[in-house]
């Protein structure tokens, strides 16, 4: 019975994503929906997506929590950890117990341990031979993800990849690189907009993001447009 419910939710998620892809959307918002769906559907505590910038460095573009601690764990994983291994090999990397990290991953291990994460699965965002980033799934209890969860996550990651590349086609950008840079740049503007709200409303960055996203949703405006308006000071929320 519970399985059926989950299946329904999974179908619902794909339907939502498909709708998003058909209508206008922006990449950061799509990826945000995706990580939230992952956290909702899979047996995990947190999720995040990293994309490679022009220098091939992985940067967090969306995560279930904006807490800098979570971002840091993923960023360290992207320097030396499961995330970068997944990115370079283009394959799923499963670390059922962070205590089993190889010596090169010690900084990542310490940070994960400190934040209470016990297991990590990294799923590649891959288009044929090119890997453009990785989806990271973090659990607070040790153990590998169930195979069907990994499959579901890979399917969601594939949708994200298609979303990023489709937007590229829509914008007629010249390269995947350019498209990734544009996604990362809109993330920069979103961070700035969080700062604007944090100042004007006297709230934390996390709360600022919630306000930003809620405003975009309820007014049916793209997240990146709202963010740009706030930064240009043509919009006040």
């Amino acid at each position: 019975m519970i399985e059926a419910t989950r299946e329904d939710r999974l179908i619902e998620t794909f339907a939502t994503l498909a709708d998003t892809l058909v209508a206008g959307y922006d990449v950061v918002d799509l990826l945000q929906t995706l990580v939230e769906s992952c956290a909702d559907l899979l047996d995990i505590a947190a999720a995040g997506i990293l994309l490679a910038d022009a220098d091939g460095e992985l940067e967090v573009v969306a995560s279930t929590s904006e807490a800098s601690r979570l971002v840091e764990v993923m960023q360290l994983s992207a320097r030396a950890g499961p995330c970068v291994q997944c990115f370079t090999t283009g394959t799923v990397v499963s670390l059922p117990d962070v205590e089993d990290s190889p010596p090169a991953w010690l900084r990542f291990r310490d940070s994960a341990r400190e934040q209470g994460f016990a297991a990590v699965t990294a799923i590649p965002l891959r288009l044929r031979e090119t890997t453009i980033g990785a989806l990271n799934l973090l659990s607070t209890v040790p153990g590998a993800l169930r195979q069907q969860d990994v499959r579901a996550a890979q399917a969601l990651a594939d949708v994200a990849t298609i979303g990023i590349l489709q937007e590229r086609t829509l914008r007629e950008s010249n390269s995947v690189r350019e498209q990734l840079t544009s996604a990362l740049t809109s993330r920069v503007v979103i961070e700035q907009a969080k700062g604007v709200i944090s100042h004007s409303r006297g709230v934390s960055m996390e709360e600022a993001f919630v306000l930003l996203r809620t405003y975009a949703r309820s007014n049916r405006v793209m997240l990146s447009q709202v963010a740009q308006g706030l930064v240009d000071q043509t919009l006040v929320i």
Binding site: E57, E59, Q192, A193, V196, M205, L230, Q233
Partner: protein, 239 residues
Amino acid sequence: MRDRFEATEGALTALAGDESRLYEPLLGVLPVDGLSISTFGDFLPAETVSASDAQSIRLDELQLDLGEGPCWDALATRAPILEPDIRHRPTRVWPVFSEAIIDDDLGALFAFPLLLGPLRIGAIDLYTTRPGHLSDLNIRQTSGLATVVSRLVLARAIRLAEGDIEGGAESSRQFSRREVHQATGMVLAQLGIAATDALLVIQGHAFAAGRPMQEIAQEIIDRRLSFAVNENQIEGSHD
């Protein structure tokens, strides 16, 4: 007139990287005989960045050496200093500077501060050989152009400093520095300025304090450091 003013802004901005020529567009649009742009004050080295002629260089050097004169007062008061007839009917007297220029062929002296948010960067000194006033419009326009010059001169100082240290390592990895972007948002909201200027303010502050931008950004986010302008207090700095 407005178009000319905007064109001057554009011409100034186009001189980024070639700051010694910044005087050129200004001289073309303002009713003065010569001008100089210098950095000094809180944290930048005292130096002339751009000057139109020998007289301008002399005025600048005198003030920088003596530590007094219109440009110092302009920066200290964050407002233009206007001396329409400096030799015969001065409104201010500087003990050494006034004495030093007694034989110079000067009519009016004007000094406009170079500011960006809370940062005091330097000044523009302008002179005419005959006494004369700047119109209110001239004053407003020069103040506006001074903001453009401030941005360029600060960017130049940071660029030179970064070149000295580590080839601008701070400017790379721009996407991962979330705290810096968040702090940029806070500062732009505090000061009502553009994001690029807010980033310059943070950069300049870090530069002045000799500390990493990331640290300064974290202090801004934690509300331990604010650039918000209060009624009596321009620099809401922590130190």
